[in-house]
Symmetry: C2
Subunit: 300 residues, 2 copies
């Protein structure tokens, strides 16, 4: 691909999260919405019109057709996790670059197969963990990366939970063992583990120990759980994730010289002793608000 | 004792923490400073004059003399933990009510002996965990105790740490196996476990599992550690405590309907979605500040 040409995205399926990502692709200066495929062409067409796809976008009644579209450079795959292995590997084999929704696979073995497929055909793999790509996340990391100010990372605790409610707990794909079988671990624990690895500069822990007494639904899918991680150098981390606890998305990083608490993974406040930031609306859905608030309160 | 007469306190030893507690006794309308005993009478005398003891206070060159003083109703024991069993039992045998500094004993077996001594002689036992007696702590509990608002307690995380610094890590009694042998677990982890039990209405957990890789000093005293607790009803808790991480004293309580984060155990802010409180000086040493801030920001 020429560096001057935008990446032309095809989307597999009409998941809710694809609405947000479609919007992001549409707003991005270096990407375009090229195609959408659903098992129902009517659904695909409706999705395209509701989400600002250009008239030139290709609408398909199957996922395969998106992968076969020569105008598609990269595919975004927001399908249920249990379908990732099949469609991600197929996308790689069709030489489409891959933006794979989280959780990326049901286990490491599946992910390894996806990565092997991408490597063997020379396409790029990226997971769709949005906050990793937020400019504020890089700013947050600057706080932790300064040994003079923060010192050495000693502890991390992360919690990501929400009270999913009865309808979700009965009907959502994230409570179904044949769809998003990882339950809350894949949905919210994903962010906890990512945030912990992010804080630890992606150094893998030596041990990971599940906390006792996770909660399962009747079908055996995880509704709440947690774990502790240790690196063998005095650094430890814990996390908990849940569909049964009120909305929280926090990571607290303890250094030898400072503590930082980052709240809500899409907004943040920086806490140092003597320096709190007031967040008038931490549950705002405006992804840009956190950056503005951050800049207003800390940078200026 | 008549209800109209103040409790006359004797203090065993001149520990730093005894300065704060002496002040509290002096300011309390229902307690007086009656006696102070140290192994050095000069030290006791100096302590009494520096800490506002009345002229009528009795100054002794031994702990025994305080226990033998008929004008002393109750003793406050801020001695190193390894001395608690001996002096607490002796105090009970001398029929002195007992205010025992935390950590109260090196293990449950020692505490049981102390409690047995108090029960057998009919004196009152109380541990000196100050924040338990702060009016704000009761207010904090009101948030958690409202099932309509908070829902059911699902998760608790507590962290209490401070960067003790080289002099402390070399010389303080809290790093010495023959003095405060529990190290950071007794010093700061004490508050974490108390806060967790406080949040859980003192229901004992079914399991307590140490996190891997605590850190020890050369003498084998704990410098940092953590644990997970579970109750068998889907409620879990984790804590970490350390002499090696920057100052933090937090407890985060996750309910089905709300999350509350209480900061610094001597100050607090109440967080609900859309409602942050700004703390201009969370490391202030003024114990009353938290209450004022709390009342100003939440109650009024």
């Amino acid at each position: 691909m020429s560096e001057n040409k935008p990446v032309r995205f095809g989307i597999l399926g009409c998941a809710n999260i694809a609405r947000k990502v479609s919007r992001a692709i549409r707003l991005s200066p270096n990407a375009t919405l090229q195609a959408i495929g659903s098992r129902s062409i009517d659904k695909a067409s409706k999705f395209a019109s509701e989400n600002g796809f250009p008239d030139s976008a290709n609408i398909y009644g199957s996922y395969e057709a998106v992968l076969d579209d020569p105008e598609v450079d990269a595919v975004y795959v927001p399908l249920p996790t249990s379908l990732h292995l099949k469609w991600a590997v197929l996308a790689a084999e069709k030489k489409k670059h891959l933006l794979l929704e989280k959780p990326v696979a049901l286990n490491v073995s599946e992910l390894d197969k996806i990565l092997e497929a991408c490597e063997s055909t020379g396409v790029q793999y990226m997971d769709a963990t949005m906050w990793m790509h937020h400019p504020r996340t890089a700013k947050m990391k600057e706080f932790l990366a300064d040994p003079e100010r923060f010192g050495k990372l000693k502890s991390v605790h992360s919690i990501f939970s929400y009270d999913a409610g009865p309808d979700f707990l009965k009907n959502d794909i994230r409570v179904k063992p044949d769809l998003d079988a990882l339950g809350t671990l894949g949905d919210t624990g994903w962010y906890c583990t990512r945030a912990i690895l992010w804080a630890a500069d992606y150094e893998l822990p030596k041990t990971v120990t599940a906390l006792r007494e996770p909660e399962f639904n009747e079908a055996g899918v995880i509704m709440s759980c947690g774990a502790s991680l240790s690196w063998g150098d005095g650094k430890i981390a814990t996390f908990s994730c849940s569909f049964l606890t009120n909305l929280t998305m926090d990571i607290t990083c303890g250094g030898t010289k400072e503590i930082h608490e980052f709240t809500t993974l899409s907004h943040c406040f920086k806490r140092m002793l003597g320096n709190f930031m007031q967040l008038p609306s931490p549950n705002s859905q405006n992804l840009h608000w956190g950056v503005n608030q951050y800049q207003a309160s800390t940078l200026s």
